[in-house]
Structure formats: structure tokens, C-alpha cells
Amino acid sequence: MASVDYERHDYDVLVIGAGGAGMRAAIESLEQGCRTALVCKSLFGKAHTVMAEGGMAAALGNVWPEDNWQVHFRDTMRGGKMLNNWRMAQLHAQEAPDRVLELEAWGALFDRTPDGRILQRDFGGHRYARLAHVGDRTGLELIRTTQQRAVGLGIDVYMELKIVRLLKNDSGEVIGAVGFYRDKGNFVVFSAKSIVLATGGVGKSWKFTSNSWESTGDGHALALWAGADAIEMECVQFHPTGMIWPTSARGLLVTEGVRGDGGVLKNSEGERFMFNYISPYFKDETAETIEEGDKWYEDKVNYRRPPELLPRDEVARAINSEVKAGRGSPHGGVFLDIASRRSPEYIKRRLPSMYHQFKQLADVDITAVPMEIGPTCHYIMGGIRVDADTEETAVAGLFAAGEVAGGMHGANRLGGNSLSDLLVFGRRAGLAAAERAKASSVETTLSEAQIKEVIDHATSFFANEGGENPYDLHHELQETMQNLVGIIRTESELIEAKEKLAELGERAKKVTATGGREFNPGWHLALDLESMLAVANCTTLSAIERKESRGGHTRDDYPKADPELEKVNMVSRYREGNYSVTPEPKPEMPPELMALIELSEGEGKSAPAKEESK
């Protein structure tokens, strides 16, 4: 090989990923006075976060003065089936309101209450209307606001640049990263005292997903390969309402806001079937009859919420059962009906992008007829294990925030808790990374041999003559995960998946990239496949290991939750070329927080009696 040729940059803090988490981390690091670089795989401002619709959860108490961080904390823990890292759930609930108000001070224009404050909307699993929002394009508002803020502060952005490996020094600290510009195909090497991973999710390993092409789990893989731990990789959220028709739009998200604003789920017999699926866990706070559920929209004090607004795992499983029982819609889902319940004007005002999405992609007018929907792979609760306060991983100098980090959401994430998570922990990661960079005298001289090895590996796909097409392999991986490691899992299928993944892993090394290095999606996919396989392996192994059903992880052969496993993290690691999973005890919640959860559970029986309904 000719001598390696690459561009070189040196920074205090390198932030990988420009979604909400990466943006917030970079802003914090800049404000701390650190030289900061922000890199992303797409154009700046296009990250997956722009797709978020419904809103961001924060106990501002603007609509319900009785809301506070304690209730938000309790809802988050219960939604996560108690598998959450309690400290993260606490920090999140406490700091989310400040992060939302900060966005407002940076120019975000949230929808308003009649008295001029930030309006909040109802979402599944949240006891009070808690989601600050802008119509159904809240993620775009978050991205633009932080993007414009970061630009105003003079951030250095490297866009359309994919990081392929992290580099460490002899003492095991992360000190740099190697990547390449997707447009020109030339390599770039960064040295930095701290690196923040904010690379988002993993949906592209499944066939039907609401995620963009970027969600290939790169950050999960980069961290694992560098020696960090991942937890709860089996906990994948299938959002109950994805589009299922036309086929090309399959998987696209239909926001939970549709249900928050009055939409209901019906089977082919026209029955509101969710009333048949209220688990004992949520019985006390869910309406028993249609009449009661409908009255809740008007009077949230004296009535309980309809079961359509149960946490996502519950709703997704119910839909799955209805379809299996033969009561599905023509294209294999169920109906989501808001047309018969709200006026066309209301629907268009509250859900403009849903209206357009269906009109333009399916030629369906959601103000006139019901939508056909079914579960779609949406979010991974699991991720890189971090220290709750600083977001530092097991590898010194490496931080992780946003969807790539694990712990915050336990076994199931509540809607709206991700956008606030991005801001709360993005900021904390940026702060801790900056502090480390300032205090650290770490030696960041990079090893040329290491760099050359990474570049040689990345370009090796061009030399693989006569190998498979990476698109075919990706397709097979997606089929495998969809069919064998989907919503409902069972031991024999998981073992089958594990074997299939071993085979795909071997084949992935030999795929061929044709053409040149300039903007070559086939080559990019060959590299993305490595990350997708890392995620697929960890998810499958953890799913085998967690012999219970909890939140986003449902085992047909172990249909109940096992109280012992509530105390356990499933820890994924990568050592000497192999992925492995070991159960380890999880941090224990202090009694005063435990009391919060138990106390308010009893309280849930009688709804708060003061305040007129809003």
C-alpha cells in the first residue's frame, strides 16, 4: 500500500454526532471555552432528531401546576419497568424543565398556553400533560435552535464525515478518532482529550423501522470496540403506530400525539380493543369503559385516561395479538381512527405533518378515514453504560449521551423522554468532557501504525474481488432481526439468529465495494454493516440471557417479569473479536426515592382533586 494520506485536526473535545445530544454537548463544551469539533454523517441539521414529532417531556407544570420532578421521575421508572438507572431518571426529571426553558431563551418558538407560557400535551405513560411541543415537528425545532446556537458560538462542523474507529493511548485513554469524508472519500484523523459519542440509534438492523439510514449503531459499536460496556441491548422499542401501507412507507412513524389528541385504536370488527389489554400494573390509572376514557379528554381530574395511552410496549403487544387473532386490517395492522372523533380543522391544526404524510404518501385523508398502522422498530433503550452524573463510559476520556447511552429509560422509554434526555445528558456530557480536557495533561500523540491499520481496513472492501453486494447482506440482516429478534421472542429463534449472525459476520468481511471512494453509498454501507452486526449480536445475546418479559423485551417462553432480574443489568462487551453478555447487579435505588414511587402509586387511585380541567 502507498503511504497513508490524511487530513489532521487537533481539538480539546470531539463530539461525534449532531443530533440533539451532540449539539447540546458541543454547545456546552464551547461555552466552557474548549476548542470543540462536531462531526456528523449527514449534512448539518439533518440528524435523525429532526424526525421527532410529539414533544419533549419536562415537568414545567404550565398546564398542571401539580406536576413536579418527583411525579415525572415516578412515571419514567414505572414506564421503564424499574430497570432504569435511578440516578439518570432522577437527574433527567429534575433538569428537563431548565433545558426546555433554555431552548426558549435561544429562540425556540414552542406552542403557547393562553397565558403565554409553553403549552404541554398529553402522551402515553405521563401522568400529566407534560410535553412541550411545536405542532408535530418538535424535533426540528430542537435541532434548528441548537444548530443556530452552535453556529452563533462559532462551532467547527465537519459534516458528511463518518468516524470508523476510536484511538487509544497506552494507558487505555481515548485520544482520537479516524474517519473519512463521505463526499470525497478522503480520510481525517482527529486528536482530542475527550470524545463525546452522540451517534443516536440502531433501527437500521431491522426491516421495518422509523429510523433514518444513519441509525446503524455506529456509536454503540465504536464504544464496544474501544472496550466500553453496553447494557440492556435487548430492550428495543417497537412503536405501536407505524405506517404499514403503502409498502414503501412501511415503518414511518405516526406520532403518539394522534392518540393524545383523541385518536383511538380499532380492530377489523370496529372494536376499541385496548380495553381488553389493561395489565394489572396500570389498572388503577386507566379507564375501564369507553365512556370514562372519552370523558378524560374533557375532564382529566375526575376521569382516568383511556388505554390507548398506555406505555408503548403494552400497546404494541396488544396490536400484535389482535393481528395474530385474525382481527387485523387489510394490510396486516389495525386502525387508528381520529377522523370520526375530531373535526377536520382540529386535526389539521394539531397534526399538520401527519395529515400531509398520509395525504402525500398514501393518498389517505386522515380527517375522513382511519389510518392503518402497526408496530415499527423505533428506539433502543439499551446502550453504552455511563456514569449517571458525567456520562463517562468505562473507557477514560470517552463519554456518551442521547440514544447511544443506556440506563435512563430502563426496559421501555416513555414518549417525549428522549428529546429531554438529549438535552439533559448532552449538556452533562459536554460539561464533563470539557472539564476533563481542561484538567488533563493526557498525551494525545497518535500512533501512525494504528491509523494506517484503520485506513487499510476501511479501504479493504475495494480489494475484495467478486464478493457479495453489501445491499443484499444488509437485507438478510434485516430479515433475520425482524423475524427472529422482533417484538415477541423465543429461545429457539434467538439461537437461530445467533448462528445466522455468526455466518453474516464472516460474509460481511468479504463484501465488495465497487466504484471509487467519492460519495459511494455501497462502500459506506459495507462499513455501516460492521456496526449493525455489533448491535445485532449484542441484542440477540442479551435477549437470550434475559429470561423474562419486561418492557420492550418480550419472551414468549418467559411471559412474566422475574423480580430477580429487575436487579440485573445485561452487560455486553467486545473482547478479542467476540461479543459476550453477562448479568451484573444494577445500582440500588435509595429508599427515599423508592418511597416516591410507592407513595404515588397509592395516590394514583384518586385523581388530584383541585384545579379545574385544562
Partner: protein
């Protein structure tokens, strides 16, 4: 419903790079319910693995997949095949206003450079009980904040489409809308009028409305952003609703060079130059 006849599609995709290129034909069976981006992806997954195309959300939310479809500037992910005359060849070419990188991908960095020159949102001090804004006051700004930065409006604006030289002193419709949004923000206190006229090139726009016509978000760029900006800048007239916040908060602060400091300031430039050392 959108049943595409089960015939064969003839797609003519522009392929090439900065040094030149041409349309390449691909034939493939039509499939029900597809958008243009699906067809492009099918070609990529089978015949042309290195076919360069940008996309992200496939839901009209990220503004990555802009191209010219049969000469019309559109989002590929939001253009259903059933809305095109598919018994004829369908051509897809990259946006013309920006230099080609490869195939359907163009170099849109001009837009990111303009974004750096926009003086930031500058709110007044936060009252103890928090900022208050009313729905009627935020709605005008919200319209412009729907922008997904697809740059289709920039692509069709004749000021830069046929005049590369104008890029140096013209912000383009997307960023004029952004400036209007800042000027209408109820909490903002900065007066950018002179800057908009002089540095952002507002005067170049002669209100042809081509930008508004192509905006996939249906933003009324000309009527709601540019015309009010022109009125305000040129005649210094006050639009009662748009500038409401300003009136509440008193006189706006005139802009100073410090407001674009992070990018234009000498210190910032020096810091950046020092970071990029070739190896």
C-alpha cells in the same frame, strides 16, 4: 388509490461528477405505492451500488433528497411515482444551482456559509417569572421555522441560479426567511435592517415568487417574509403584528460587528486557521 400500472419504468438518472456526466438509463418493473426515492434506491441496491444520492428521513422532514424530477425541483421522498407520467421516461438530475459532487449529490456548502453570517437571536433579559409570548405572536415565526433546509428555494432563485457571482453577496430566500423570522421574534432585540439590505442583498430579490412555489413546506416565503422585510428595511414602516414584540420591549438595539463576531472576528479566524494543520 395510487395503483401504478404494473409496467416497466424507464428512469434516466444523471450520473457523473464535477468533470462532467450524462443521463444513464435504468429499466425496472413498476411497483405499487412507490415514491421516486424508492425507485432510486432499488436501482442502487441492484444495478448501481455506487449511485450517489442524499436522503435521511424518507418522510419529507429532513430536506436531504432535493433533486430535479422531470425538470421540477422536488423532494424525491415525497414525490409519488403515480403522480408522474410513467409511460414516458422519467429524468432525475441534481439541483442545478449548486456544484455537482457526484450523481445526484451537490455541494450545498454555500448555504452553510450564509447561515454563519446571520446575526444570532438576541433576546432581552429574562424576567424572573420567565418569558411570556402569545400564540398569535409566535405563529408568524413558526411558519418560517417549519423550514427543512431542503434548499429548493435557493435552487430556483434566479438571482443565484444563473449568476454564480451573486452568491458572494446574496443570502437567498431561505435565509431571508430566517432573517424575517428573527426580526419578527417577539423576544429579539437586535436591529438588523441595514445589514439585511447591505450585506444580505435583500434588494436583489424582485419578487418573482419562484421560491414560494417550490417550497415543500408551503412557506409563503415571498408574501410573508420577503415583502414585509422589504417594507421594513426600505420604508422603515412598521407592520403592526410582526413587530409587536419590539414595541412591547422598546427600541431595538442597533447591530454591531460583534454580533457576527464568531465568524468574522479576527480571533475566531486565527483560532480556526491554527487548528487545521496538514500532516
Amino acid at each position: 388509490m395510487s395503483a401504478v400500472s404494473t409496467g416497466e419504468l424507464l428512469m434516466k438518472l444523471w450520473r457523473g461528477d464535477a468533470s462532467g456526466g450524462d443521463f444513464v438509463e435504468y429499466r425496472l418493473p413498476a411497483q405499487e405505492g412507490e415514491v421516486v426515492l424508492d425507485v432510486v434506491h432499488r436501482i442502487q441496491a441492484t444495478e448501481a451500488p455506487d449511485l450517489a444520492v442524499r436522503w435521511n428521513c424518507k418522510a419529507g422532514k429532513c430536506g436531504s433528497c432535493s433533486a430535479e424530477i422531470n425538470g421540477q425541483p422536488r423532494l424525491m421522498c415525497m414525490t409519488r411515482m403515480s403522480t408522474l407520467p410513467i409511460d414516458e421516461p422519467i429524468t432525475i438530475s441534481p439541483m442545478r444551482t449548486f456544484p455537482v459532487i457526484r450523481d445526484l449529490v451537490t455541494d450545498v456548502s454555500y448555504n452553510y456559509e450564509v447561515a454563519k453570517l446571520i446575526p444570532s437571536f438576541t433576546p432581552g433579559p429574562r424576567p424572573a417569572e420567565g418569558y411570556r409570548m402569545f400564540q398569535v405572536d409566535v405563529e408568524r415565526g413558526q411558519e418560517f421555522r417549519k423550514c427543512i433546509e431542503c434548499f429548493l428555494c435557493q435552487n430556483v432563485c434566479h438571482v443565484i441560479r444563473d449568476h454564480e457571482e451573486n452568491k458572494a453577496h446574496y443570502a437567498g430566500p431561505r435565509f431571508l426567511a430566517r432573517l424575517a423570522e428573527l426580526e419578527m421574534h417577539p423576544l429579539d432585540t437586535l436591529d438588523r435592517r441595514a445589514y439585511i439590505a447591505e450585506r444580505m442583498g435583500l434588494g436583489y430579490c424582485n419578487i418573482t415568487k419562484c421560491c414560494t412555489e417550490v417550497c415543500p413546506e408551503g412557506i409563503h416565503i415571498t408574501d410573508n417574509a420577503i415583502i414585509p422585510l422589504k417594507e421594513r428595511v426600505v420604508d422603515q414602516r412598521y407592520d403592526p403584528v410582526a413587530w409587536l414584540g419590539r414595541k412591547i420591549r422598546g427600541r431595538p438595539r442597533p447591530m454591531t460587528p460583534a454580533d457576527v463576531e464568531p465568524y468574522t472576528g479576527a480571533a475566531a479566524k486565527a483560532a480556526r486557521a491554527g487548528q487545521a494543520e496538514a500532516s
